[in-house]
Symmetry: C2
Subunit: 363 residues, 2 copies
DNA sequence: GTGAAAGCGCTAACAC
DNA sequence: GTGTTAGCGCTTTCAC
């Protein structure tokens, strides 16, 4: 019954996926470790041998089995990342920046999306951790309690993005969503707007939107005005959510003279709806967004918004990971001896990349 | 709520990520294989034992080392995918659909972006294959020659997306870029447009854009008209590229009465530029796009475009992979005996998901 | 339904 | 600069 398919031979003609390091080694007339070294630390192999080995790799079409390497060395070349969604350009930018920075070091990105769910994040993380990633990148600072515990117990660089934190799991890189929203609100007031409304995703479903809401509230309190908030459909990430919000606002009593959306997508949808409805922007109703997506500057009217360094966040996360990895390789033993405490000692960095209020024509 | 004690456990001492299957097995008073079975085929373990093992897993915070499992079983739970970029929403949609469909089967997505480079794709693929993926998803059908050979030599489901193919590496799911562009061009002619121009990315740099260009050319030939083509900057994926194209066209002699962009992003940029320049759309110059990105319907004027089933492509790719995986597991022995030839036998499927011409106000 | 032993393919540690 | 040996943590096979 059991067929003997595992052809026990060397480069016998046909290109086979089952070429192992031994096969390459035999063909090149060296030991397997030399093949391994040619792949990982070529400078430690003499040019002549290196040439022969590379030729053998070419000839056999050898592809190293990373599962074996990872198992033995206890170190993969994979970084795991969880994002709420890839459909939102702004997260895609961060992921792109991250992947770019990582690739330079030969690190692969393993991506999963949580659909904005904290519970899904936890489950996904367990899956991801099984792949033995060398580092983990999360979006936001709001996680299920086991997530913190799980990650802290491992001596593993963890970067939380898109937000700051007083107490990051390990590292954080982002900006203050609270301050950004507060600044925009105050800036709108300075521009002369009287009734400033805020429209964002349900705070309990989207932590970052919740912080923006708080920033807005704080600013309104400072201004001595009363807050006027609207909750967006669809987590505020659709154009339709913006349109529906603006329709509601226009229909109600005391329509605001400016609406600050926690998301450019919704803001754009709102602005385009106004144009269609014949509502002058910004004179009858002004609109501000958040994110500075590419379309913000290209649309009519161009959107006033908060510019966020999306790609920079990704690149910075990559840099932090690489630094941390280099450090722990150097410190190696010392760190292992220090056990749990050590990770803590090097922890606690939160990098603030800031934001920028960009006034265009919509407000 | 989850039981709070994340750290407390056996006499092992410190909270450590190094919990192995043996540790769990000992704690539950079973052999390691039973733990493995609880994780992989729980129905083959008695409820009582299963309960004990699950409790031990909880208590220890055990996370299986997938590298070991993959090495031994020669089968990972990872699907590798290469996309040109994640910044373009349309690819992100496909990836999202793919990830969703895969997750349902407990498969993880390993993503890399090639930056539209065929050479990069090859290098990345080698890296990805080392992770022992169970399947590979590529974008497009234009690949470096070694890529075909490499993938064909492995008994591995391969799905090429976003295009059709007479001779796919294995499976293909998409639509005819050629036919889509041809249809739109003919439809524009039917609508009464006389001078129909086409604007796309440099054909040698973007295969799909090249096919759209050919579809346009074919249609123009059928109509007995002469083609008028413009090459976009930045692979046509920026708003600015659309603006610059439209400016060039307006400045030149014999400005077209409609421009068909191979990409909605450029089309949107062009339309907004027209609005800003006071060029009436569609009366003085009409604009058509390709892709039906979310913003196409929400902008002013709403964009006439070709609707592409982006997410559907991803979901279908996932389904094809899952079917193929199930089949090869069932056929297991037979297929192994058949060796290289077998993969070929089940190959060659190209699924056409079609497209749709959507007329809105811009043309 | 459960277990014991063997070994997947690589690399760390130590020889030479 | 290069080779030998051992073993990473699982799952496969075959017993029971």
């Amino acid at each position: 019954m059991t067929p003997p398919p595992a052809a026990p031979h060397t480069g016998a003609g046909r290109p086979d996926a089952r070429v192992r390091m031994v096969d390459v080694a035999q063909r090149a007339g060296v030991g397997t470790i030399t093949v391994s070294r040619v792949l990982r630390t070529p400078e430690r192999v003499s040019p002549e041998v290196r040439r022969r080995v590379l030729a053998a790799i070419q000839a056999t079409g050898y592809v190293p089995n990373l599962a074996a390497g990872t198992l033995k060395s206890q170190r993969s070349r994979v970084v795991a990342s969880i994002v709420p969604t890839l459909r939102n350009t702004i997260f895609a930018e961060t992921v792109d920046g991250l992947a770019d920075g990582l690739r330079a070091q030969g690190l692969q990105l393993l991506i999963a999306s949580s659909g904005y769910s904290v519970e899904a994040e936890e489950e996904i993380l367990l899956n991801l951790l099984g792949q033995q990633p060398v580092a983990v990148v999360l979006t936001g600072t709001a996680h299920a309690p086991p997530v913190r515990a799980l990650l802290r117990s491992r001596a593993l660089p963890v970067v939380e993005t898109w937000d700051l934190s007083d107490d990051p799991i390990d590292l954080a890189v982002g900006f203050s969503n609270f301050e950004a929203a507060r600044s925009m609100t105050l800036a709108l007031a300075t521009r002369g707007y009287r009734r400033i409304a805020f429209a964002g995703a349900p705070p309990q479903r989207e932590h970052r939107a919740a912080q923006r809401l708080e920033g807005y509230r704080q600013a309104m309190a400072e201004l001595g005005r009363s807050a006027h908030t609207v909750t967006l459909d669809d987590l505020g990430v659709t154009f339709a959510s913006g349109e529906s919000a603006v329709r509601g606002l226009l229909a109600g009593p005391l329509a605001p003279d400016v609406v600050f959306f926690a998301n450019d997508v919704a803001a754009f949808g709102a602005a385009q709806a106004c144009v269609r409805l014949g509502v002058a922007v910004p004179t009858r109703m002004a609109i501000a967004g958040f994110g500075d997506f590419e379309l913000a500057g290209a649309s009519n009217p161009p959107l006033t918004t908060v510019r966020i360094p999306g790609e920079h966040i990704g690149r910075t996360a990559a840099r932090l990971i690489i630094e941390r990895l280099a450090a722990s390789r150097g410190a190696g033993e010392a760190q292992a001896a220090g056990a749990a405490g050590t990770a803590q000692a090097v922890s606690g960095r939160s990098v603030d990349l800031g934001f920028e209020i960009v006034f265009r024509e919509s407000a």
